[in-house]
Symmetry: C2
Subunit: 148 residues, 2 copies
Amino acid sequence: MNIGHAAAASGVSAKMIRYYESIGLIPKTVRTEAGYRVYSDQDVHTLRFIRRARDLGFSVEQIADLVSLWRDRERASKDVKAIALDHVGVLERKIRELQEMASTLKHLAENCCGDSRPHCPILEELASEEPLPVQSKADARFSALRGA
Amino acid sequence: MNIGHAAAASGVSAKMIRYYESIGLIPKTVRTEAGYRVYSDQDVHTLRFIRRARDLGFSVEQIADLVSLWRDRERASKDVKAIALDHVGVLERKIRELQEMASTLKHLAENCCGDSRPHCPILEELASEEPLPVQSKADARFSALRGA
DNA sequence: CTTGACCTTCCCATGATTGGAAGGATTACA
DNA sequence: TGTAATCCTTCCAATCATGGGAAGGTCAAG
């Protein structure tokens, strides 16, 4: 199977397959006489594994660890779980960050008429010298808004 | 005021100030005879505006638009609001993505003993051929985000 | 034998930010 | 005044995962 076929079968683009090979995430493949890479079903299986891990937001580095644990029949499941939970922590931190941004911004936007007049609490807030009034997601009050 | 001072006063690093200048987000400053950049309080105010917009996750491109609207006394507040709401949409899409990842992963991790034995549902799932079982959590956390 | 669809390698770009090197300017202090 | 520390300057590189594209070789079908 050539790289295009492996890409279609695994959901990983040919570009990325070459990249993963170049950084050592996957081993170098057999080549045809003409230099074409050749992939087995097992290779495609590994690529699909990688694809799924990417879909869950794991970094390439973490995926390398996951693949090596996957291959290791003597692995301890706690090692896998540790990677997963660590990543969950990162994701949740990121989610909280974005939620703070979104809710702050939504509150600002709600207080902006959104008409053709220039008055705008969003700009006022950005131009203000005071700390940004972060709306924690549990806090639905508009207390800190100026010009509302 | 030199760049270090402006950086400290605005919360934007000297590196980033130079970068913002290089991409045209802020105009080129006056220089001393020795070539040192010189900043006014007004410049610092603009930098702080930029800093706040970055803290809310706006892209540099959006910030350029926001700054120009900020400067424009004839602006229509709907133009500002449109940028803000567009960004809220992007943030919320991102949040949903991350939440799906986190909840899928947490679910998998909950079913992994996390001991020294090799059996591991997380790896099994990654190695599976079936579609990833996304744990859609369109529940309390989610509606808290848009419900406000 | 040509055409089109592959494949190869190599370089570049993204976005925002940081790091660092080489070298000049300024400042503080003895 | 000398000198050392701390600034400033520009330029280049790296991050992370991915895509775009060029130049050129290969392969299969018509």
